[in-house]
């Protein structure tokens, strides 16, 4: 009898936990509509937003990330139709990001140890990378590559941030960006110096509008164990 009661209590608490987790998004949105001063402007799209948050619950996306985006959109007073489209795009990015993090975790055991809050933080960062134009293939390759070779995942994230900055220069292909990102994360440069390499590329591109082979040359120097002094010597002549 006692055993049946314990099993019943376990099932109720377990299933209740799942149900609660699944409803976390809806609850967060419900609270947002109650508490946010911007909410009345978005009553018209309430059902669309609930559908997005339910879909996020189904994919185990932390609702806080979507609420943050909603707050940003409301602060900028974006029209309701734009908010729905933006939130759908954000959900798609977060789903892709979640899948990337799962694949990275599968590549190496280290990622499996991260806490829920850390995973949320990483998911938010991956979403920003995707929003900035880095592709799923690029992030898969850099993050999983670092995990497989035993490099700290934070180094790979640092490299992705620099690649995102370099991408803003324009004129580089995805293949060049991938070669550069991969060379950076596997280089002898300390992660705190990755930004310096990004700044060098920005400066070289601005000073010399011929960008042919710039990233390939920088990648070659990184692969051969060089750093900023070698780049100045090798590429500075073109300025």
């Amino acid at each position: 009898m006692l055993r049946r009661v314990l099993v019943a209590v376990y099932l109720v608490s377990f299933c209740g936990g799942i149900v609660l987790a699944q409803q976390a998004g809806e609850l967060s949105l419900s609270r947002w509509f109650t508490e946010s001063q911007s909410a009345p402007a978005y009553r018209l799209i309430e059902q669309d937003l609930y559908a997005i948050f339910r879909a996020a619950d189904a994919s185990s996306i932390p609702p806080g990330l979507l609420i943050n985006r909603l707050n940003l959109a409301a602060a900028r007073k974006l029209p309701p139709a734009t908010v729905v489209a933006g939130m759908r795009q954000e959900l798609a990015r977060l789903r892709s990001g979640s899948e990337i993090l799962d694949r990275v975790a599968a590549s190496a055991g280290g990622m499996q140890q991260v806490t829920a809050s850390r995973r949320t933080e990483l998911l938010n960062t991956v979403s920003i990378y995707l929003g900035g134009g880095l592709s799923v293939d690029f992030l898969d390759s850099i993050l999983s590559g670092a995990a497989t070779s035993g490099r700290p995942i934070d180094d790979a994230f640092q490299a992705c941030s620099v690649v995102l900055e370099v991408k803003r220069v324009g004129g580089f292909t995805d293949a060049e960006l991938l070669t550069f990102g991969s060379a950076l994360v596997n280089s002898r440069i300390s992660p705190s110096g990755y930004g310096t390499i990004g700044s060098f590329i920005v400066r070289s591109s601005a000073a010399d509008r011929e960008r042919a082979g710039l990233l390939a040359s920088v990648s070659r120097i990184l692969r051969r164990g060089g750093g900023l002094p070698q780049m100045e010597l090798e590429l500075g002549r073109r300025r």
Binding site: E165, R168, V169, G170, G171, S187, R188, I189, S190, S192, G193, G195, T196, G198, S199, F200, V202, R203, S205, A206, A207, R209, E210, R211, A212, G213, A216, S217, R220, I221, R223, R224, G225, G226, G227, L228, P229, Q230, E232, L233, E234, R237, R238
Partner: protein
Amino acid sequence: MKRTYTALLLAIAFAPITFADTIVSIGGGASYDNTAAVQVQPLVDLALLGAYSWLPTDRLGLFADVSAGGTYEPLSGVVAGLLAASADASYMSDGYLMRLSVSSVANPSTADVFYSASSADLLLSYGSPAGSISIAPRFSLVEESGTTAALSGRIGLAWLFFDSMLVKPSIEGGMDVPGGVSTAWHLNPALDFDWYPGGSITLAVRAGYARSFSTSYSSLVSGGVLLPLDSWERYSLSAELSWLLSKGVSLTAKVPCDYYLKNYDAFSGVTDLGVPAWVVNLSPTIDLGIPVSEQTDFVLSLQGNFDLSNSDIERKNSAAIKAHFEFHLE
């Protein structure tokens, strides 16, 4: 060994152009020159620029740059051209970098004396991501109212501080042989400081001193003293700021400032300056690059060249504003 060389030569010969950037630049603007007969000139210019890279192996890189262009000033009818080409090969291996390069530039003009310069440079360097030492001998020939041959060498150090500050002391020295009849020696110590704070801004500052000594003397006597030919001293300070303002939009501003002391100027036509001439030269440039489409950039350039001097012949002021469309060809 012979097989290695053969394999290397075959790799170079059949290496495809790994990266190519060919740009056609069309633009115009206006210039001002206080020494010209027509001081304000509209101008039109056209240029073809090409940068090509071959990377047959990770250790070996081959690069070539070519450019050809011309400027036409409709009011004075002056046509000036620019032809330039350079090529270099670099070899990298575990901290070592060796590069051999040759370059040539010519400025034919209907208004000025034909100018051309060619040089061959060798760079040998050893280092790590934290620092390097380099030696660079150079041979050059300059053609402008006669031929000047020059041989020089440069020793440089580079050291990275706090992951973002590159300090580069260097000393360069050499000799110039104008017309093959006289010899001038020059020495040029310099200190470069580059700051890469991460992100979209970089700052570079350079301070240098250059001194030219001539071993040949004019036949003129000034106060009983033979004046050395074309001797001068130069103190220079320059700053360069690069800033990526937003996606694809870049701003580069350079402000070089030089202070010259000249004892005698062989080409000025003035044979006795009486007192040494001093010149403060400021030549700021600002370039703003804005992408118009995937293949087209718009570039706005402002250039100035301002002199302050105690000698009338040294006071030249000019300024130009130019706008270009640059088309990147596939």
